[in-house]
Symmetry: C4
Subunit: 493 residues, 4 copies
């Protein structure tokens, strides 16, 4: 031990430094140190030689290609990753914070005097008005049916979504600054992250636009076919929100108003999914970065201080997941609830209606509809497929946060006995004992198993709902017999 | 180490003291010590300087504003917090212990010779009588229907509630004394606790009163409308409990008796919820107090003895949760079962009946009813909304005990490596391994996830129950087609 | 340390002894030691004084009234506790081992040449014959109904039960010897255990006999009423197993045969529950004994070796639970499956039939039936109540094994820091990490929560099953309105 | 310590060796060492005598019969165990890797230029063609029924299975090489493993062939009976896949094509189950081997290094389970989903149709069918029984991987206190914290409890599905009364 006297002191200094509160300064220094190791590996010997002699040190662990190749000052900040998504959202009155295009997160503000806030507020008032008329319809209608009820659910949940995003906005600047601080001490070096977020935003919202257009097309095709001679635009607008026009009468201003609010509703529904996906991408990327660092020392000897640093890195990210979950939990909850409800509804509709041509109103006359009556079918198939895909994507991508948080354990099991220390044990205890996952207001954790639970719930509800509507997946027993008898080679299934 | 010889001794004394059994005396002393630290921070150096030198001590951790600002001799005792709730309960024959207004918990007694016990006993006998007549009706009625069955369930569960509260009363004094002892060593300094408990009691019970009045109004309105010329009061009373009067005939004494018992039943149902809420408030407040202490040292260096004290504080509160759960578990169970049953029932009723005007018995004549036939609808909507709100409140507030018990872990993960000790590890092991929550007789733990499970159960049962009554949430497929076709822009949902 | 030189040696000897393999001898010695402590407390000082000086030793922990009062050479052996139950079972051909009345477990044998085995084998053959005829009926009957199906399920499961008990018998002697070995080193001192087991056996089986008699009475009353003039006994026997007599024709030998097999079937069903209850009683009692020892040192200072001894005691019992579960898991599985199936069936029957008088076959003539047509109703109500009670009892009592296995944790959290050692940590790790419970072939663990899951399953299945039979718990919506309107004060529920 | 100077060095060398990276070389050496111990037990003293003196060493633990008897150079490699299964699979276009018969795993290749790959590709194209025609039928058919839908599900899932096996093939060589490397350091000595895998493959696939033949027989019998005079073969082929022939018309080439694809479909369904079973056998066998080593030291004193070796052995196998699960997770998922779907379907069919003779088309004429109309019944009963058995077998065998991974804990609880070390603790932490199991794409873990969950799901779905088809398990209430009244002695159930 005596021959290492000098390095021992050096180590002591490092230890002392790590124990004081000014972490951030040290963090920056730490990454410089990493770089230094790559350039001057002889230094690492001095630092770690203060460990017991029978520990075979492997300074090359700090020179894994991962760290050297990727770290060239490039940083993928949260601000940058979310920029496009947030800006698109603000066009529709969601998350009205100022300063989202700035690199400096301290310039983020939630200001009541800003245009964005006023626009958001107007959007909420407009949406509430539509909800109000829809509720009025429900109370006064002598014969409410599923269609108006599901429209009401659609309007109410999306109106709530807008309000929830307003609430998120009040906490958004603080969250971004916290994330920014974390990034300062441990920058994200994932080069694909920003691209992934942007592509997802554009892709999902473009598909949502297509869905909206198909819906309008389907509606217009029906009107052209059945109400020839009328003002198509007026008929189309009135058909979209009959409960409002029966109170106000037709007016072009009301028509524009209902169209704008209608687009906002459709957008909100999709945007909350996009928002959750992008944030999940970021969090997963951060966890994966720590995981890759951990995996790079799989089965190798590493000093206790190395594990301490990694554990602290890990804890910082998991702490971040909790903070983020606190802020966006309500968005996740409403997004999942919304998707569950509309999958049940559309599945029921698909099973009840099947895939068939819509009969024309004008028998005997030539059909003027662009797809000869298949407009609605195309719309429904596309809409249902898109809904299923989007819901699955949100669930799978959000659940990867949980999966990634469990990954380090599998490397920690293989830490050699001589390198095993209280730090490794503490790391493992944390992974085993804590549950890191995005959650819906803590009511459910978004894990992979959740998807199966939701799927089972959908099947159960669907089977029961089908009984109400008289939709039967099977013919009666007597009619089963014949096809099975004749085609018994495929009826073996 | 030699220069700290004196303080080392001092520390040793402290250690020795902590290990003997006379904890309470020490506890009081501990809080005095806390105060002393704030006045004479130089003392803390002496005490903690016996720790290894490389530990950077931060005496300021004991001077967090939380502890200095709040601790001015103010104490929020359990006795004080529950006083109003218990006294109101005793007016309805629940929890008949004497001495609930005393500050000294040792004066709490469960006495068989007390008026309160006699009153409780009479209440139970009265309630059992009503249950007996209701059962008789069930057995002899040739055509039992859901109404009489659900009334029976209502009567039986509330009668059981009264009996369970009698059982709680026998264990209440001991529980209060235990809690009082805990408070002596670690007083609660939550200034909002008592207010929260009182406001909740008054609010919920006032709303319950309003519900009762609406119910009576709805009943009287019907009688005035349909049975003009009769004695309204007599008709109202008989309509309330026909099964009794068909055996006894009308008598003003029986009428008063049924009215009193009826009020008791309604009250019991609400009171068990209030009772669970108040106790949850108290337990959460205690856990939060420990949590705030723990959070105040987030990421800071603290000696092992500090963590030991906190762990002991934490264990004491979690031990308390177990004791309380042992006593009130049956109340929680019946409260949750009751709420689940009546949510299913009222939801079914609401879906079957919808929101509509009750037709008048006297066609052609002017309607004398105060709300023109909407009395019952108003009552049902209010009652159902109140029931849902109350059930959600109980679940959410009771589940916060569990949430609060998990909080400390997130600070413990950030304890610096140099301050990590066996105490911290033990604390974490306890949080990870133990489940601290109120429970329904240990059959279910009241956690946030439970609410979702209950909601799912309600939806499933409701869907199946609706098939019996022929209530359909959807029109038949053929009638779906048209509105969707015409209004396809909202049917996109 | 030097002044304790002698006792240090003494301690070393104890440690060495504990580490060698001859545990049993030591165990006996250990209990003698315990007794010695009570007589000569000065000795304990010598033994424990080899611990660090700052540990305040409390020799009085070994003098808790529990241990001194109860341990007077009295032992409640497993053999003794199960004796009556096993013997009763053997009268019906179950668990055919010889030597169950012996105190010495080494005399237990599973012998193929014994009368008991031959009787068991004959019973199985007889039962299989009945099952065969019943299956034949199912295949050839053009119109199978629920009654014959449920009879088949009843016969098949009880026949399997008999076979499973034969399999248990082959492993019973080894299990008893293992338990006996455990008892030799740590005798059970629970004085109520044997009584509890015997009372349960007698009580449950007497109630089962009463159920059988009520069933026969109900059947005979119907025959007397409707088939006057016929041979009542013959008609009764034929009605009991029509599928056999339609092949064999009536014969007194076949009648006796079917009656004996019928009694065996009824008995088997009840016996498997009794068997599980008795074993659960024993295991819970063993765990509670360890728990009481642990609780007796709540918050006190105890040497590490004390915790080691307790942990070893605990591990031994939990190991026993696993061994027992291995042997009787199949019995638990079939018992729970059986109870679940018949609760669903009987509940359906009760809801469909209600509680009403059975109309007489002889209109106009005086009714000769003992209960004027209520025989069957009485039988069904009694049978259903008994079934629910028994099922609940099995579940609750078996789940107490799991509850008892978790108890020690709550004392271990309060072990003072100075007494905390690797032994305590290991003990806690084991409690947190392991799940000790009886299980149904490892498919489900018998915990308290299971009961709620089963109850939920029953409600779901029942609601769906009721739709098949057209049984409705609610009148149609139109008929709901009136009673609620008139009786709105109770319809508030 | 000084007297053991020499052995101490020896031990040090061993420690150093264990800490370097060249594990494989050491592993081989380790087994040689084991053998050496058996021959020269005096050596073991030297090696372990460097431990503290109060540790009673038991060198005989290394001489358990298990290790000496079984290890004679015999090795059961994964390559060998899977050989037959993989080769059979390749006959049907699954898992097209070359070099499966080689002993050397490095010769395994996934080559696009190989015949096997081309054959697989052709199979997939063929299968997709059939799926395409089947989908076409669904879209154009005016009256789609359950039969064509279930055939579609059957075709689609089995087509996906083929594609998934192609994906497995791309990762198969790397997986085998990894397993081979693990086997090099710790060879499998399970002599029954290879036999078990082969017998299972042959047995299951033979039974599948029988099912296919019965299906064809049932189909042909119907054709002979009803379509006398026609070309039986042509009618049979057309009946098997009517949707193709209605587009192509009958052609012998298309007939052969549909027959081959049909056989491939049937085979795929069974093969994925066989594949999962064989891999589960291998993984369980590896875990059991470690478990037996651990159990051989139950309650004995073993040095810390012994536990380290075992923990490393265990971690290596559990790491293997994760790797294997990564590769075959999709196969497990589709196998379980497939089995669940078809159990529901066949159960529904069985309940709807019952077990009865199929009426002949030719009334009055002699019946020429081989089983007089019972062909289809025999086929359905056999098929359903086989499906249930196979599904249960897959679930039970795959869940044994999880069960086996939990086993070591029960020995670790009994490690004597003196032998307890950080290695044992780490081992236990790993077992308690990690979940080792095969999984369906991580959506569900294959544990024993899963089987009950699936069973419950099947019952629920079945009950609801039965309502659609009008299949009733119970007669109406009025018809229940009579048989129960008359036969009340068996209706007691």
């Amino acid at each position: 031990m005596f021959k290492n006297k000098k390095s021992s002191k050096l180590f002591f200094v490092a230890e002392t430094k790590l124990t004081n509160d000014k972490m951030e300064a040290l963090r920056h220094c730490k990454y410089l140190c990493y770089l230094k190791y790559y350039l001057k590996p002889q230094l690492s010997y001095q630092i770690y030689s203060c460990f017991p002699d029978n520990l075979k040190l492997q300074p090359e662990i700090f020179m894994t290609p991962l760290l050297t190749a990727d770290y060239n000052g490039y940083q993928a900040t949260f601000q940058e990753a979310m920029k496009l998504t947030i800006i698109i959202g603000q066009f529709f009155g969601l998350n009205p914070v100022t300063g989202v295009s700035e690199i400096d997160t301290t310039k983020l503000r939630f200001q009541i005097q800003s245009c964005r806030f006023v626009y958001s507020l107007l959007s909420i008032i407009g949406q509430c008005t539509v909800v109000y008329f829809c509720l009025l319809e429900l109370f006064t209608d002598s014969n409410p049916n599923l269609s108006s009820n599901s429209a009401l659910v659609f309007y109410v949940t999306n109106c709530i979504t807008t309000i929830l995003f307003l609430r998120v906005a009040t906490r958004w600047p603080r969250l971004c600054q916290l994330i920014s601080k974390t990034e300062a001490s441990d920058p994200s070096i994932d080069r694909t992250l920003i691209k992934k977020c942007r592509v997802t935003s554009v892709l999902v919202l473009t598909m949502a636009l297509l869905e909206h257009l198909l819906s309008d097309l389907s509606s217009i095709a029906g009107i052209i076919d059945c109400q020839k001679g009328e003002n198509v635009y007026e008929a189309f607008v009135v058909a979209g929100s009959p409960w409002i026009f029966q109170y106000t009468g037709y007016s072009p201003y009301v028509a524009i108003f209902t169209q704008i609010i209608g687009i906002q509703f459709t957008f909100n529904w999709n945007f909350s999914d996009v928002f959750v996906i992008c944030i999940s991408f970021y969090l997963t990327s951060r966890l994966e970065q720590v995981n890759r660092r951990i995996e790079s020392v799989f089965g190798k000897h590493t000093p206790s201080s190395f594990w301490r640093t990694l554990r602290e890195d890990y804890s910082r990210i998991t702490g971040l997941v909790r903070q983020v979950d606190d802020v966006i939990g309500s968005i996740i909850f409403i997004s999942f609830a919304n998707n569950l409800f509309f999958i049940c509804l559309q599945l029921l509709h698909t099973l009840a209606e099947g895939i068939r041509r819509n009969p024309s109103c004008r028998l005997g006359e030539p059909d003027e509809r662009p797809f000869q009556g298949y407009e609605q079918t195309i719309y429904f198939v596309y809409s249902f497929g898109f809904l299923i895909t989007r819901s699955l994507a949100v669930s799978l991508i959000a659940s990867r946060v949980h999966t990634a948080s469990r990954e380090p354990a599998h490397t920690l099991y293989f830490v050699p006995s001589t390198a095993y220390s209280v730090e490794v044990q503490r790391f493992l205890d944390q992974i085993h004992g804590d549950t890191i996952a995005l959650s819906g207001l803590k009511f459910f954790d978004v894990k992979r198993g959740l998807i199966l639970t939701i799927a089972g719930t959908i099947v159960t509800y669907e089977l029961v709902l089908m009984q109400f509507t008289g939709v039967s997946p099977t013919p009666s027993p007597s009619t089963i017999t014949i096809p099975i008898f004749i085609n018994s080679s495929y009826s073996k299934v």
